[in-house]
Every structure is written in structure tokens, then in C-alpha cells.
């Protein structure tokens, strides 16, 4: 298979950046999207040019490192799939493929397709935890948790923090990410003592980090590689209202 790639190239944060065409020839359908980029990069290196920088690590769809907007869709055309788990058999021979980094004010581009997602970490530093000192935990089976609740908490906890929800959102809102973590802890009995404080602190940092607000476009749900559902954002809103009413 042969493709024309239209790729965002930007040397560093100070460079305005531009779309550049690259050839991707001799691609095998069983290659992953990132393996296809590997092939292109090897050719660029042979020619003495700098390869396309992109973040990736586990290549198993779990670390949340990789991600790019492919033909206008975060993580590409397949639903519930990270970019590293997208295979070239889903493209047609001869396609022109545009590849851009996550676009959001809160995610400055570092180079080519690499962006700084540190703002997501800062939201977590503000309250994405249950405060429990090492060694002070009670016996694991002391708190029985009904299976449906544990399962629902796990649905939320599956978030890999890739940032696709932000990239897909016209407002660049991180609410799917944020709601997943808030919901996981709000659902579990262990999360109750800090329930109100947590949601207020996390939302405040999100708002201060240059992200937009949620106006329920639902684009985030459509691109989420882990199928995190919009209903968690409803839960987040309820949690936030509840927290303000309680205080």
C-alpha cells in the first residue's frame, strides 16, 4: 500500500509550524499506524532529514502516550481504539492521510505531533487521589463493595489519560477525563471522606489551566479509546452541585 501523509511539522514551541507532505510507500496492511510512521521515519533518516516526532510507548493501547488527529478524528477512524492499535488495513491504498497533533490551548505543541499534556497531571495533583498513608489501610475485605458499583467504578477507572477527549472537543474541555476520575472515587466507599473537596479542587485547576467548559457536544465520547461514557460527565456535574450545596 502507498499513502501520501500530510503531517504537522514544528521544530519546537517557538516555531509556527506547517503541514508537510511525506510519502509512505510499501506499507503492509498488518502494520500498525505507528509502524507505518516508523517506516516513513527510517526513510527520512536515510535521507539525512529529521524524523517525525510522535509520542508512543507501550504500543498496546494502555499507556495513553500516543495520539494524533488523523483525518480530522482523534486516534483515527476506528471507534474505541488508540492510534497504536489502529492498523493500516483500515485505510485504502492511495489515501491521503492528514496527521496533526492534539490541538488545545492547554496542550502546547513541543515538536511535530508531541504535545505537553502536563495540565492533565496538574488536575490530578489537585485532588485525583484518596488520601491514605502507606501502612494505614484496613483489611482489604473489611469494606464489601457491591459488584455493580465496583464494576461501574472500573468503567470510569479505565481512562488512560491520553487527552483525545480534549483534542476532539470544540471547547477543548477535559471533562470526560476529569469526570472519570471524580466518578471512580465518588462511587466507592473509600472515596467518601474527600468527595466534595476533591471535585471542587480538580474542577478549579481544570478551569485555571486554559481548558474550555463542557457544552455537551459529545465528541469526546466518540473518540475515547476506552469507551468512557458521557454519563460520567453528568455525574461530575451532579457531584459539583452537590459539593457546593453541602458547603
Amino acid at each position: 500500500m502507498n499513502f501520501t501523509l500530510r503531517v504537522w511539522r514544528q521544530k519546537d514551541a517557538s516555531d509556527p509550524g506547517r503541514m508537510v507532505d511525506h510519502r509512505a510507500d510499501g506499507i503492509i496492511p498488518d502494520m500498525s499506524f505507528l509502524e507505518m510512521l516508523d517506516v516513513v521515519n527510517q526513510k527520512l533518516i536515510e535521507k539525512g532529514e529529521e524524523p517525525i516526532a510522535f509520542d508512543h510507548d507501550c504500543r498496546e493501547g494502555i499507556c495513553g502516550c500516543c495520539g494524533a488527529v488523523v483525518n480530522g478524528t482523534a486516534h483515527g477512524p476506528l471507534p474505541a481504539t488508540t492510534l497504536c492499535q489502529l492498523y493500516m488495513r483500515h485505510f485504502r491504498d492511495g489515501d491521503v492521510i492528514t496527521i496533526e497533533p492534539w490541538r488545545a490551548k492547554a496542550f502546547p505543541v513541543l515538536r511535530d505531533l508531541c504535545v505537553d499534556r502536563g495540565a492533565l497531571d496538574r488536575i490530578m495533583y489537585a485532588g485525583g487521589y484518596i488520601t491514605v498513608r502507606t501502612g494505614s489501610a484496613a483489611e482489604a475485605n473489611a469494606i464489601p463493595i457491591p459488584k455493580p458499583i465496583a464494576d461501574r467504578a472500573m468503567d470510569a477507572a479505565a481512562c488512560i489519560g491520553c487527552g483525545a477527549c480534549v483534542a476532539a472537543c470544540p471547547n477543548a474541555s477535559p471533562m470526560l477525563f476529569l469526570s472519570a476520575k471524580v466518578s471512580q472515587y465518588a462511587l466507592l466507599p473509600q472515596g467518601q471522606p474527600e468527595r466534595e473537596l476533591r471535585v471542587k479542587k480538580m474542577v478549579a485547576v481544570a478551569e485555571a489551566s486554559g481548558f474550555g467548559a463542557c457544552s455537551v457536544h459529545a465528541e469526546c465520547e466518540g473518540v475515547c479509546p476506552k469507551n468512557i461514557k458521557l454519563t460520567f460527565i453528568s455525574k461530575l456535574n451532579r457531584e459539583l452541585i452537590r459539593a457546593h450545596l453541602k458547603s
Partner: protein
């Protein structure tokens, strides 16, 4: 250099850790904040250690090469974590977990370390549940368990097929709490490129900011390395692309001994290689072996589709050879058995390097909803990668490099021979002997970080007599210059002909053939002859575009491959020296008549710890004898 002293406490095994904790010197809470500790790596071991040390009051700086601490490769562990809770009432106990782990490691681990690991396994579960890790539960609300290889009890706790992810996010959340408090300073996208040693003590690191390229000096009173293993020496492995051995290798070059480098684990259930372009291998969790049955056709060169091969013409070889453990035989044994049937010409798939993992019986017995509940995400991942539906066609699997039991030598306190340098998680050598059992890596990473290092590092800091030193010390200057020199050299061959990847692939092939699943004197000597030439070619011909002052992923890779090229040689030296077979180290010359690993306890019942003697010089071997007072040396049998 001091002789190897494992510092194993006296007394009965069940009392050693308690007694030792009492004997450890404490630091007054008000004084703890005067000490600074550097933690390199933010996986299960690094994140849990950094968070726990900060809770105690130490100043902590934590470094990781990923853009966020949450992405360390512990995240990819799928199946589960062991703990001796005995919630299933099936006869489990701390002693049994200890026994299984020592036996599973083929009697090449330290008894005292393993016993402590089994003891704290229960605390880990308590801690993780309290953090809100959403483990699988039964309808009554209690925690659920499943079985894993090498054990006949169900002691593995799990969170769907994402246990590593959930445990890492738990440790990351503890870390976030401490970062939020200002107790941990986090350095993401920073790579440790050298260790700084002052007056024989580890006192800091040189790191590169991978975005700006800035080389920075970081001083501390102690350094803890938790940077994982070195399976990427094989190029194709289940490790993340960024996993590397630079931190431990640089520490080794600075004086830390490297123990048992030849102990590598080849995981039996990975998706087979499809072609030259392949960039990594994907694991299918061992938990699949609970319900999947492994088989190959009886006949060689079988060309029928798996569904067309009748029962009578299939060989369920694990069930046949190991009736009591069946498909749950330990990893090393299962991997070798797969290699044997493929070597006999009975492999499946286009490459004939594969075996079937078949769920047809389980689907019939349990129904699709149960299988979906247990393994849904794994089945989906398999289908995405192979375009085959495992609900209808058996999975094709083949062994792949996955974990390295070898690592930097540490004593009972998890400190290397280099005072002040602590090594935790997969990066050390201590608990798994020559083969790690499934669901034990998560257990060890968290044991080291939550429940061992926070106690032992205080004792070191209280006793060590650490001099005052700043980043202006001569040792920092020398280390920084060495780092800058290496980077310059790597960037120096713009007219070079070959990319970093081409060297890495060649190294991988060389190691897989020479020091892979089966090793012989000839294959190892062959590899030892080729490695120096490959290394020389690398430094002559490697082409690294760009400069050191920007984000430069080729430069990052080049530095890592340069270090793997050196480590590879030490692996082969160790594998050649250890002429016995044990666990994952299978010397073909040393096997029983029916093809099982044959240990030589008379000559090799020891840890091999290698000292770096300088570039171009043969490494020096130090032996730590292993004593088995509780689990008596015997031939491992899973029949």
C-alpha cells in the same frame, strides 16, 4: 570494593523481617525533612517509593522519561497480583506463597527476601483497596480471585485485564497527593544519563530534559533506581518502546554489581511475529491459560484450518506432559514446550512459529458472556491486531521476551554494593530467582516501594555519615562532562549509513539466536564474538539526525541502544559462565532425558554478581552463595 554481604538477618525465617525492622535505626520526624532522596522511575516501585518516602517527611525528587508518571510500563501488566490472603479457603498461606515463589524461581532466589515478599503481599492488597483500586468483586462484595501459572491455589487478585494499569494508577494517585503537597518534585520527560558517586556513596544523578535538551545536575543523600528491566535488548519484546537499561547500566559502570544478567523470562503467550516491520510484541495475559487450552496438530506440516482438525489429531502438549498443572505450568516450562513442538515442525500459522490457545471448550462450558466478562478486552485487542476473532478461531500465540529477573545486585535492604544506591522493582535481581511466576512482578514492585525501601533507606541515611556536597562538586562536573561527551559522539556521524533502529534490530536478532530461549556454549561464544564488532560498527556508522538542544527521539534511542550493546555482552558472559540450566536460563547441554532444565547445585547454587572492570576489560565475578534452609533443593516438578 566491599565484599558481598547480603545482610540477611539471623533467626527463624518468619521472624527475620520483624526483627530487622526493630533493629533499623530511625530518624526523628523533624530531621527527616533534611534528607533528600532521588527516585528514578515512576512505575509501581518508583511511584510507590516516592510517595511513601514523601509521606514519611523526606524531600523527594522523582524522574521519569515519559510525559507523565502515570505511563510507566507497569501499566501494561494485565493479569493480576498475588497475595497470600487465602480468601478462597483453598489452603493458601504466606508460607505457601513463599514456597511456590522459591520453587518457581528454580531455587535461585534468596529465601529471606522471598519470605518477606510473601509477608507484605497482604499489606499491599489492603493498601491498594484503600486507594480505590477497583478490583474485581464477587456479588457479595468481597474480592474475587483467579488462578495463575505455577500455583495450585487461587491467590491472584485482578481488575479485569488491566490490573497493572489500576495498580499503577493507585500508586500514581498516592504520588499525585504528595506532588500536590509539594513533598515530591516530579521531573517528567527527564532521563537519567549518569550516576554521581562522591566518596564512594551514590549522591546524585545527571539528567537530560528531553524537551529542551538541558543537562542538569541533581544532588541527594540517597538514590533509588526503579527503572525496570532490559528485555528490549532483544529488540522485539513485550516491553514498551522506551524501556531501557541506561540508568542501571550507568550505575553498573559507576561500580554497582550486576547480578544474574542471563536470567530472562520468555513469556509463553504473546501474539506471534508477523513480519520484518514489527516494532514490538503484544502479550496476551497468562490468565487466559485458566480457560484456554494450548495445542498443536499431531502431524508435522499440518495445513488444515484448526477447526477442521479432529480432537484425535491434536496434541494438548502441556496437559499431556504436566497433567497436574496442565495449561498452568510455569512460564519458562510452557515457553520451552512451545519451542520444542515448533522445532519438531508442528508449529502453526504462516511462520510455523506459533501454537493454538483454544477457547472452544470454555465457551461451550461457560458461555460467551462469562468469557467476555473475564477476557473481553484481551479478545478485542487480539482481534484488532490479528484481524481474527478468537471467539471463533483459536488464538495463535508464541513466546516472547517479557521480563528480566537479573538486575543490579542488592542486599536485604535493597541497597546495592554502592552505598546509597538503592534498587527496587524489576531493576534489581532479588526475589524471582531464575524464573518469575505470573502476578508476582506487581507484587514485588509494590512491596519494594511501599513496604521495604521506606524502612531500610532511613537506616542507611541515619548511619551513613553523608558529607555535605553540592552540585558544584568535582564528581558532578566529571559526570556531566562524560554525558555531554557521549551525546556529542552519538551526534557526530552525520555521514553515517545506518539508523539506530537498524542496529537495535540486529542486536535483537543476535541475542535471540545466541542468548534466547535455548543457549549453548557455541551460540554464546558466537554472540560474544559478534557483539564487539556490532558495537564498533554502531559507533562508526550510526546516523543520528538533529541536535542535542531540542526534543530528539533518535538521540534518546541512540543512547539507550549504546548501553544495551554493552549490557548484551555481560548477559552472554554470564550465560556462558553458568553452564547449568535453571528456570528461564536453559543451557541445552544441561537437560534431563525428557528435556527439562537440569540444575547443577554443586557448582551454581549462587548469585553471580558482576563487577565492571573498565571498558574493554573482562568483568569480575563475585559469588553470593544461596542457602536453602526451608524449601529444600529438589528437582522442580509440575507433572
Amino acid at each position: 570494593m566491599a565484599e558481598l554481604d547480603s545482610k540477611i538477618p539471623e533467626g527463624p525465617i518468619a521472624e527475620k523481617w520483624d526483627k530487622h525492622r526493630f533493629n533499623l535505626k530511625l530518624i526523628n520526624p523533624a530531621n527527616k525533612r533534611k534528607y533528600r532522596v532521588i527516585v528514578v522511575g515512576s512505575g509501581l516501585a518508583g511511584a510507590s517509593a516516592a510517595a511513601s518516602l514523601a509521606e514519611l517527611g523526606f524531600q523527594v525528587a522523582c524522574f521519569c522519561y515519559q510525559d507523565s508518571a502515570r505511563r510507566a510500563h507497569s501499566i501494561a501488566a494485565q493479569g493480576g497480583i498475588n497475595a497470600a490472603k487465602n480468601y478462597q479457603n483453598d489452603g493458601d498461606s504466606i508460607y505457601r506463597l513463599f514456597y511456590d515463589t522459591v520453587k518457581g524461581g528454580d531455587f535461585r532466589a534468596r529465601e529471606a527476601n522471598v519470605y518477606r515478599l510473601a509477608q507484605v503481599s497482604n499489606n499491599i492488597m489492603d493498601q491498594c483497596v484503600a486507594q480505590g483500586v477497583p478490583f474485581a468483586r464477587e456479588y457479595g462484595g468481597c474480592l474475587d480471585n483467579r488462578s495463575f501459572g505455577g500455583a495450585q491455589v487461587s491467590r491472584t487478585f485482578y481488575a479485569r485485564g488491566q490490573t497493572g494499569q489500576q495498580l499503577l494508577l493507585g500508586a500514581y494517585s498516592a504520588l499525585c497527593c504528595q506532588i500536590g503537597r509539594g513533598a515530591v518534585k516530579m521531573y517528567p520527560r527527564h532521563e537519567m544519563l549518569d550516576l554521581v558517586v562522591i566518596d564512594g556513596q551514590a549522591r546524585g544523578i545527571i539528567a537530560r530534559d528531553m524537551v529542551s535538551g538541558a543537562i542538569t545536575r541533581h544532588v541527594a543523600d540517597a538514590v533509588a533506581i526503579g527503572t525496570g528491566g532490559y528485555s528490549n535488548v532483544f529488540y522485539l519484546s513485550t516491553n514498551a518502546k522506551g524501556c531501557n537499561a541506561t540508568a542501571i547500566w550507568r550505575a553498573h559502570v559507576r561500580g554497582a554489581y550486576f547480578a544474574n544478567p542471563c536470567y530472562t523470562q520468555i513469556h509463553p503467550t504473546c501474539i506471534p511475529v508477523t513480519g520484518e516491520h514489527q516494532s514490538k510484541l503484544t502479550l496476551m495475559s497468562e490468565s487466559l491459560r485458566n480457560d484456554g487450552r494450548i495445542w498443536v496438530p499431531l502431524a508435522k506440516e499440518e495445513s488444515r484450518a484448526p477447526g477442521k482438525i479432529p480432537e484425535s489429531e491434536r496434541d494438548y502438549y502441556l496437559e499431556r506432559k504436566y497433567p497436574s498443572f496442565g495449561n498452568l505450568a510455569p512460564r519458562d516450562i510452557s515457553s520451552r514446550a512451545a519451542k520444542q513442538v515448533c522445532d519438531e515442525g508442528r508449529g502453526i500459522g504462516k511462520s510455523k512459529q506459533g501454537v493454538y490457545l483454544d477457547f472452544a471448550d470454555a465457551l461451550k462450558r461457560l458461555g460467551r458472556p462469562v468469557i467476555e466478562e473475564r477476557y473481553g478486552n484481551l479478545f478485542q485487542m487480539y482481534e484488532e491486531i490479528t484481524a481474527e476473532d478468537p471467539y471463533h478461531v483459536p488464538m495463535r500465540i508464541f513466546p516472547a521476551p517479557h521480563y528480566t529477573m537479573g538486575g543490579l545486585w542488592v542486599d536485604y535492604n535493597l541497597m546495592s554494593n554502592l552505598p546509597g544506591l538503592h534498587v527496587i522493582g524489576e531493576a534489581n535481581f532479588s526475589d524471582h530467582g531464575a524464573n518469575r511466576l505470573g502476578a508476582s512482578a506487581l507484587m514485588q514492585g509494590l512491596a519494594d516501594g511501599y513496604f521495604v525501601l521506606p524502612y531500610t533507606i532511613g537506616d542507611y541515611l541515619a548511619r551513613a555519615g553523608i558529607c555535605k556536597a553540592g552540585t558544584d562538586h568535582e564528581a558532578f562536573k566529571e559526570a556531566e562532562e562524560a554525558v555531554r561527551g557521549r551525546l556529542k559522539k552519538l551526534l557526530g556521524k552525520k555521514e553515517g549509513k545506518r539508523s539506530v533502529d537498524s542496529f537495535h534490530r540486529e542486536l535483537g536478532r543476535l541475542m535471540w539466536n545466541g542468548c534466547g530461549m535455548g543457549r549453548t556454549e557455541a551460540s554464546l561464544k558466537g554472540a560474544l564474538e559478534k557483539l564487539p564488532k556490532l558495537r564498533e560498527a554502531f559507533w562508526e556508522e550510526v546516523k543520528v539526525p538533529g541536535d542535542a538542544d531540542h526534543l530528539n527521539q533518535e538521540l534518546e534511542k541512540a543512547g539507550r541502544v549504546a548501553d544495551l550493546l554493552e549490557l548484551a555482552e555481560l548477559m552472554c558472559v554470564d550465560a556462558l559462565d553458568r553452564s547449568e540450566s535453571c528456570g528461564g536460563h536453559f543451557r541445552e547441554e544441561s537437560q534431563t532425558p525428557d528435556g527439562e532444565a537440569l540444575r547443577d547445585d554443586e557448582h551454581f547454587c549462587h548469585v553471580s554478581a558482576w563487577e565492571h572492570a573498565g571498558a574493554g576489560k573482562a568483568p569480575v565475578l563475585h559469588k553470593e552463595p544461596l542457602k536453602f534452609d526451608y524449601v529444600h533443593l529438589q528437582t522442580r516438578s509440575y507433572k
